[in-house]
Symmetry: C3
Subunit: 141 residues, 3 copies
Amino acid sequence: MADLRQASTVLRIATPGQALVEITRDIARWVADQGMDEGLLTVFCRHTSASLTIQENAAPAVQRDLLDWLARMAPEDHRYAHDDEGPDDMPAHIRAMLTGVSLTVPLIGGRLALGTWQGIYLVEHRRAAHRRDVALHILGA
Amino acid sequence: MADLRQASTVLRIATPGQALVEITRDIARWVADQGMDEGLLTVFCRHTSASLTIQENAAPAVQRDLLDWLARMAPEDHRYAHDDEGPDDMPAHIRAMLTGVSLTVPLIGGRLALGTWQGIYLVEHRRAAHRRDVALHILGA
Amino acid sequence: MADLRQASTVLRIATPGQALVEITRDIARWVADQGMDEGLLTVFCRHTSASLTIQENAAPAVQRDLLDWLARMAPEDHRYAHDDEGPDDMPAHIRAMLTGVSLTVPLIGGRLALGTWQGIYLVEHRRAAHRRDVALHILGA
C-alpha cells in the first residue's frame, strides 16, 4: 500500500451576490492533481455569511427553489437584534448555519464519491458580490 | 504506534419511502472489521433527495416528529419552479440540504464516539421506496 | 515530510441552558498541543439535544438572533408525538438535526483554517444546564 500523505490549498471564489456557485470542477481538478486513488477530501468555507451544500446539478430551477426557500426561512423583513451590517446580514448568518460550512467527501477508486447528480456549491447569502475563500484538504494515498 | 491506513466501501440501503432508516449497526460492523483502535469514519450519502442525520435512537416517536417537521418546513403544496419530477421531488432536495449528506465520527478506544442515544440514520425524502448508496471511509490505526 | 499521526480526546463543556457556548479557544489549545503543521480536525458532539455550529464570534446579538430563530423554527408549543421528556426535548432534537453534530476544520500552516470572524460553538438546546461531551480528533503531521 502506498504511504498516506496530505495536501491542502485555498480556492478563492468570486460570487455574484446571492447564488449557488458550483465549484465541483475546481475541486475535482485540484484533487486529480494530488494523484491519489483513495482518501478523504474536506471542503471548508471560511465565512459566516456564505456556506456549502451538495445538491442537484442538473436542473437550474432547483437552485432557484433552494434560494427562494432559504429566503422564506430566514427573511430580511424580520426585526433582528443584530441589524447594523444591513438587512441581508443576519439572514445570511442564519442561512449559513442552516446549510453549514464544512463538507467531507471520500475519494474511492481515484474519483470523488459524489453521486451522478451531486455538485458541490458555495452558497453566497449576501446581496453584494464577494470574494470567498474555500479551504481544501485531502488525506490519502 | 501502528501505521495509519485507510479503507472504504459502499453500503446499499433499501428504503421504504419517507423514513429514517437506522444504519448504525451496518456501519459499526464494517468499522469493527477494519480492526482499528483510533481513527476517523466518514459517512457520505450519494444522493440529492436522501440525506444523513445522527439522532436519538430510543423513542420511535422522535423519528415521526422529525419527519413531520421536515414536511412542514418544506411542504409539497408550495409552487416550486422545479416541478417536473413530481410534487415530492423539490421538497426532498430542500430536506436533504437541511440535514446534509456527509458525517464524520471519530473512532476512540476501538469504538465510534457516538453518545449513548445517538444513532446514524439515512433519511429517505421521496415517497417511493429506493435503493440508496452510502459511501464509508475510515482512516486510522 | 513528517510522518502522519493522530490524536483524540473528549472535552467536557458546562452549558447554562439554551445558549451558544464558544469552544474555539479550548479546541485551539488542544490542537496546538499536538504540535502539527497540517492536518484535519474533527469536532463531534455526543448528544441529540445539543449540537455544533461555526458562526460569527464578534457581535453577541448574532447569537441571540440565532437562538431566537431556532426557537421560531422548532417551537415548544407544537403538539409533538414525543412529549414525555418535557416540552423542550423534542424541539431540542429538531434544532440539533438542523445544525448538526459533526464539524471538520483543516489545519493549514500550523493554524485552524477558520476565517477571521468564525468561532466554533456548542449549542445547548435544553432549558436546563448540562455537561456535554465533545470528542476531538486530529490527523496530521
